[in-house]
């Protein structure tokens, strides 16, 4: 009957561990990245019995702690996180561009400039109207400059976001190598191994928010990670990982690369926030180019118009605007110091010209219509706004896909308190019953001992 005693004892031991695992699950109900654990228990096979050839089993043994993971659901979640991060990241930059384009009221300041010219055309000899047009010109220049500066700031922020993303990726790769190392020492099926795998999945999901990654795990759970669209050695393999770097070339084009050993390979920006950063930088570059073109054409047209006319004193007009280092650095030129220098009348106009001649301002209005500065600026704003809105629509759809993937994964790996309560009762009962088995074994033994 000592068999029965050890069977009872094995049950008590197994269910103790099972209860501890349920307790662990309940305690970690809110831990991010925690995967529900289950115990696997198995019968201990018995040999032939001592009293008869058939015998009973030798009780129960806990064979390990399982993580109820689902590799397909994890991979799906990672892929959809990567897609969503790209779209929302890109949309954030488009929002910044929208702010930069509209924040300084560039379009309306250019309109005010031309409107003040039309006012002056009504009475070209009025000093008040000339001063008004000059200050409108100054504010148009300030608006161009401030808009250019706002784009400089967006570029600077893109650089810092890019460097940050590269650093984060490198340090995540480093963490993953440590986890890989520990995994090779941890015993398969132990709580320690399960914890390491949770950490591994956490790191992988953080990585997929930043870049489009493909990962494989080997038999003991060590992960190998490479970037989609990147050739060459894997970013993380075993205990080795590469360095991710961010670069901006002289043309303003940005790229991310991974260096493993001495080999440097560019990362194809196909997903994650780094793809959003690359998308944003491209758009900033394109819009900046168009803005520069409008600024150049505006300054050129106004200055040409000035030099084609005569100012209030009858002298030939001088350039009104000067351009600094960048085409958007527009300011009132140093030679243009007073409203009287606005060239309202035409040189050698067929009608003779004079201080009350505004035919050059009429020519300016014609240039405004033919070159369409304001229309071009509005088109920039609208084009960007349309792209931003589309991105948001796509982001909504991708968020729904990501939520679906998260739900699927959570169904497999998440802790449900009701399910744990049922397990708790089940194991508690089994534990109590095993205890009763020990008691029965003792009483039975006592029966034999009590024979006199």
């Amino acid at each position: 009957m000592s068999d029965l005693l050890s069977i009872g004892a094995s049950g008590v031991r197994a269910y103790q561990s099972a209860l501890a695992t349920v307790g662990d699950n309940i305690a970690n109900v809110n831990s991010p990245g925690y995967t529900r654990r289950t115990v696997s228990i198995a019968e201990v096979a018995g040999g032939s019995g001592s009293t008869n050839p058939y015998g009973a089993g030798n009780g129960v043994v806990m064979t390990g702690i399982n993580r109820s993971s689902n590799v397909y659901a994890s991979a799906a979640l990672r892929a959809s996180t990567s897609d969503l991060a790209r779209t929302t990241g890109g949309a954030d930059w488009l929002d910044r561009i929208q702010g930069a384009l509209t924040g300084n009221a560039l379009t309306s300041r250019v309109t005010s400039f031309f409107a003040s010219a039309q006012s002056l055309a009504a009475e070209p000899n009025s000093t008040a109207l000339r001063t008004g047009m000059m200050s409108a010109a100054a504010s148009a220049g300030i608006a161009f400059t401030a808009t250019g500066k706002a784009f400089d700031q967006v570029d600077a922020d893109i650089d810092s976001a890019g460097n940050q993303a590269a650093q984060t990726l490198s340090s995540l790769g480093d963490s993953l190598t440590k986890i890989n190392e520990s995994l090779s020492r941890a015993q398969l099926g132990s709580t320690a191994a399960a914890q390491l795998m949770d950490q591994r999945d956490n790191v992988l999901s953080q990585m997929s928010g930043i870049a489009d990654i493909t990962s494989r795990t080997d038999a003991i759970g060590r992960a190998t990670v490479s970037f989609a669209g990147s050739t060459g050695p894997a970013f993380v393999q075993g205990v080795n990982s590469g360095m991710v770097s961010y670069d901006r070339d002289s043309n303003g084009k940005i790229s991310f690369s991974v260096t493993v050993g001495a080999v440097k390979n560019q990362i194809g920006a196909t997903g994650g926030s780094i793809a959003g950063i690359v998308d944003g930088a491209e758009r900033v570059g394109a819009i900046r180019q168009e803005l520069d073109a409008v600024a150049k054409s505006f300054v050129g047209a106004v200055n040409d118009n000035q030099t084609a006319g005569l100012d209030q004193t009858g002298a030939q007009g001088v350039a009104m605007f000067a351009i600094g280092d960048k085409p958007t650095d527009v300011s009132i030129s140093a030679q243009f110091t007073a409203g009287s220098q606005i060239a309202a009348g035409k040189i050698a106009a067929a009608q003779g010209g004079g201080v009350r001649d505004s035919s050059n301002l009429t020519a300016l209005e014609a240039t405004r219509v033919s070159k369409g500065f304001e229309t071009s600026l509005t088109a920039l704003v609208t084009g960007n706004a349309t792209a931003y809105k589309q991105k948001n629509t796509i982001a909504d759809a991708q968020a729904a896909i990501r939520d679906g993937a998260a739900t699927t994964l959570s169904a497999a790996t998440g802790v449900n308190l009701d399910a744990e309560a049922v397990d708790l009762m089940r194991f508690q009962q089994a534990y109590a019953a095993s205890g009763r088995v020990i008691q029965v074994a003792r009483e039975t033994m006592q029966t034999i001992l009590d024979i006199r």
């Binding site: 409107a115 006012s119 004079g354 201080v355 009350r356 609208t382």
Partner: protein, 300 residues
């Protein structure tokens, strides 16, 4: 499908925050009265609104210019009426002078009055407009007519002051040049010199009948010329008035369109907000009921 406890809470919280976000969006729309805050809210409408902004800025300038042109034309009309009155008086005086009963002495008195008429005509021609510029001046600026004090008068080169822009591609000549007002047939002579000459002749005495008779003809021409100019000013005034009406109509149409594009339908928004709040409180109630259910309550 088993929903993990943390997902249940996470879902509920993200649903609530989405509803709150929408409620706050509606709240902003109701309090600002606008449904387009950023261009990306509705790019197509934003583009039209930008166009309207530009038109509004232009319309404000045109409106000022129309008011200016209108007032200049009104002023010109008034001054031309006064010039016309003076010329009528000159006709009377010339007719008196033609009378054979007049003596050299009385003709001298008439000459004096004629000279003063010439002086007031020069003064009227040099009237300043609301902007302090000569009303009947020319593009070169300066006085509209200069009295050389020797019976001749200098007009600046006959270049019209630039026209005032009153609408897209439309301008109006808001003034007249003194040269045109006082021009007489033949082009070399002008009303002022002609009247001066008459006064000089009357002053000199003797037989003045030829001079007076030809002057009477020319004064008649001068009156006609002023009437012509006056009619042309009046016609332009009518055009400016019409343009002003058109501008007002266009402004009204534009602000109505703008309203349709950017203004929020308050009734609709309030109903939507109410609906949202009802749904939100229902969700909150059902959430608190569901979350209070737990098997652990039954483990004793």
């Amino acid at each position: 499908m088993q929903i993990s406890t943390s997902l249940f809470y996470a879902n509920a919280s993200s649903r609530f925050s989405k509803m709150n976000e929408r409620a706050s969006e509606l709240q902003t729309q109701i309090s600002t009265g606008k449904k387009i805050i950023k261009p990306s809210d509705d790019p197509a409408a934003a583009q039209q609104l930008a166009e309207f902004d530009r038109k509004d800025a232009d319309a404000a300038v045109f409106s000022t210019n129309i008011t200016l042109a209108g007032s200049l034309l009104d002023q010109a009309d008034g001054v031309l009426t006064q010039i016309s009155t003076q010329l009528t008086r000159a006709t009377e005086l010339a007719t008196q002078a033609a009378n054979g009963t007049q003596t050299d002495a009385t003709r001298k008195i008439i000459a004096t009055e004629l000279n003063s008429i010439v002086g007031s005509l020069v003064g009227l021609a040099n009237t300043k407009n609301v902007r302090g510029q000569p009303l009947f001046g020319s593009a070169s600026g300066g006085l509209a007519v200069v009295d050389n004090k020797d019976g001749t008068f200098t007009f600046p080169p006959d270049v019209q002051v630039s026209e005032v822009p009153i609408a897209d591609g439309q301008t109006v000549q808001a003034t007249e040049s003194a040269k045109r007002i006082f021009s007489l047939a033949g082009g070399n002579d002008n009303t002022l010199a002609m009247l001066s000459k008459l006064a000089t002749a009357l002053n000199a005495g003797g037989d003045v009948s030829t001079t007076v008779n030809s002057s009477l003809d020319q004064i008649g021409q001068a009156v006609n010329q002023v009437a012509d100019v006056s009619a042309s000013v009046g016609a332009r005034g009518a055009r400016v008035d019409l343009q002003q009406q058109l501008l007002v109509t266009a402004n009204t149409d534009r602000s109505e369109l703008r309203g349709k594009l950017e203004q929020v339908d308050i009734t609709d928004a309030v109903v939507q907000l109410q609906q949202m709040m009802t749904a939100l409180s229902a969700s909150q109630a059902s959430f608190s009921k569901l979350s209070s259910l737990s098997l652990f309550d039954y483990i004793k």
